[in-house]
């Protein structure tokens, strides 16, 4: 485990949602979703476009207004989210990480940390994602893959318990994808709990411990990864896996 990371209990739920529904105008994005995120899970959210993966991530993270209940069972647990297209402030790579650390320790979230600790954590995070040499570059001048690594550094630096990832490797080239996957594997090895939406089923097999299949805003399947790919518990999930889920079936 990397130094300074929180001690992780091996079991027990971190986050629970019950009967969560989200509506955007006339569109019902989520319908009565109930699930628990357990410590150490690496959950992959899969499903067709518009199935509600991103909305579920946002609901789990508390970024979207919803009906139903959302309980963070460990109030000290910091949560962060890495977006498909990370937003970088027009600051240097270094200052983007420092800012994330400052925000994560805003009053009410977690204990404040001193300047020296922030600097140490930022350096450690940039080293971890291989961006140490680029620390003085403007963050927005980085390539897409580098920006995604910086987003992961920003997330990891704050020592979160849960990381939500919204298609973190979408639109990246194969080499950048591998780099991100390697970092995510490292995060999991550190004991972080990860919840990731993705369309990449190979990535799901390689990384996830649990798969949640969403269809039209509903959770249809919630199984360990091996069983999700081996068992045929849901017709629409099978069609999705075969790439045969057509619009006519919607």
């Amino acid at each position: 485990m990397s130094p300074g990371l929180p001690t992780v209990d091996t079991a027990g739920p971190l986050l629970r949602v019950r009967d969560v529904s989200v509506r955007f105008g006339k569109v019902q994005a989520l319908r009565g979703v109930s699930l628990q995120v357990m410590r150490g899970d690496f959950i992959a959210l899969v499903g067709a476009n518009g199935s509600g993966k991103t909305t579920l991530l946002r609901a789990l993270h508390g970024l979207v207004a919803h009906h139903g209940t959302r309980e963070v069972l460990d109030p000290q647990a910091l949560q962060v989210m890495v977006f498909q297209r990370p937003f970088m402030l027009r600051l240097s790579v270094w200052n983007n990480v420092i800012l994330a650390l400052w925000l994560a320790r805003c009053p009410g979230r977690a204990p404040r940390m001193g300047r020296a600790e922030r600097a140490a954590r930022a350096a450690q995070a940039l080293r971890r994602v291989g961006l140490e040499a680029l620390r003085d570059r403007p963050a927005r001048a980085l390539s897409g893959g580098e920006q995604q690594r910086l987003a992961l550094a920003r997330a990891w630096a704050v020592r979160p318990q849960i990381v939500f990832l919204d298609e973190p490797t979408a639109s990246l080239d194969p080499s950048a994808k591998r780099e991100i996957e390697a970092l995510l594997e490292g995060f999991r090895a550190d004991g972080l709990t990860l919840v990731m939406s993705t369309h990449n089923l190979g990535q799901v097999k390689r990384l996830a411990t649990r798969v949640i299949y969403l269809d039209r805003g509903e959770v249809r399947v919630d199984l360990p990864t091996e069983r999700f790919f081996a068992d045929h518990v849901d017709g629409r999930a099978d069609l999705f896996l075969k790439g045969e889920l057509s619009w006519s079936l919607e």
Binding site: L63, M81, P86, R90, L91, L103, C106
Partner: protein
């Protein structure tokens, strides 16, 4: 020699000769408009950032009002401030009518909507790109707005330059609340108005050219800062 040529010669002469009256007038113009812009920036940037993130009943009406006030006539501002500060007005006891302070107040009121409305638009656009991500990192709504000001700082500088341009080029408000008193409240624009009314068109035109030159110099200085920054950010998306 036509009037325009004569104006150019006069303007050049005034600048090269560092005419004392001209220097005093330019200095007062810069002081009044600069102070007004600083005050309007303080209130307007905060108000604009807040309007970009706040949602309350009547929010749309406030935004509409702010946008409408972009076209606020300077003479109307001058008149309102005059009524407030005149002896019989509610703030008459301050005794600041026909002073530079009154001019600063009037110009602050004039440019505040410019700063606030444009800031709201600027911050709102940036929040659409990254507001959720900042909130996800722990920033509260208002802090998100302020961080977007940092993010868009060069656009904010341009915005403030536009506000300064609006302030230094207006004549109605400062004429009414300042009174165009020589050596006390006479600024560039009121001088131009005075010389025009006296029929000294070349001098009025020359002062106009000097005013343009002053704004031009401020613009060039900001341009240098931005260009220096731009080259440091070459390739930044």
């Amino acid at each position: 020699m036509n009037d325009f040529e004569q104006s150019l010669r006069t303007a050049l002469g005034l600048i090269v000769g560092a005419d004392a009256e001209l220097v005093r007038t330019v200095a007062l113009s810069l002081m009044v408009s600069g102070s007004a812009c600083l005050l309007a920036a303080g209130f307007g940037l905060a108000a604009g950032a807040w309007l970009a993130v706040a949602r309350f009943p009547g929010h749309r009406s406030v935004v509409l009002l702010m946008n409408t006030l972009l076209a606020l006539p300077s003479v109307v501002v001058g008149l309102v401030v005059y009524l407030l500060l005149s002896r019989s007005g509610p703030l008459g006891s301050w005794g600041i009518l026909f002073t530079p302070t009154a001019m600063v107040i009037a110009q602050t009121i004039l440019v505040f909507p410019v700063v606030a409305a444009l800031t709201r638009q600027l911050v709102g656009d940036s929040l659409r790109d990254g507001g959720d991500q900042l909130r996800s990192m722990g920033a509260g709504a208002f802090l998100c707005g302020l961080l977007m000001l940092l993010h868009d700082r060069w656009a904010v500088v341009t915005l403030l330059l536009a506000a300064f341009g609006r302030a230094i080029s207006e004549v109605g408000a400062v004429m009414i609340v300042g009174g165009n008193i020589a050596g006390v409240t006479r600024v560039m624009t009121t001088s131009i108005a005075l010389e025009t009314s006296k029929g000294d068109l070349p001098l009025a035109m020359a002062l106009g050219l000097v005013l343009l030159a002053v704004v031009g110099v401020v613009n060039v200085l900001i341009g240098f800062v931005q260009r220096g920054r731009g080259s440091a950010l070459a390739g930044v998306r």
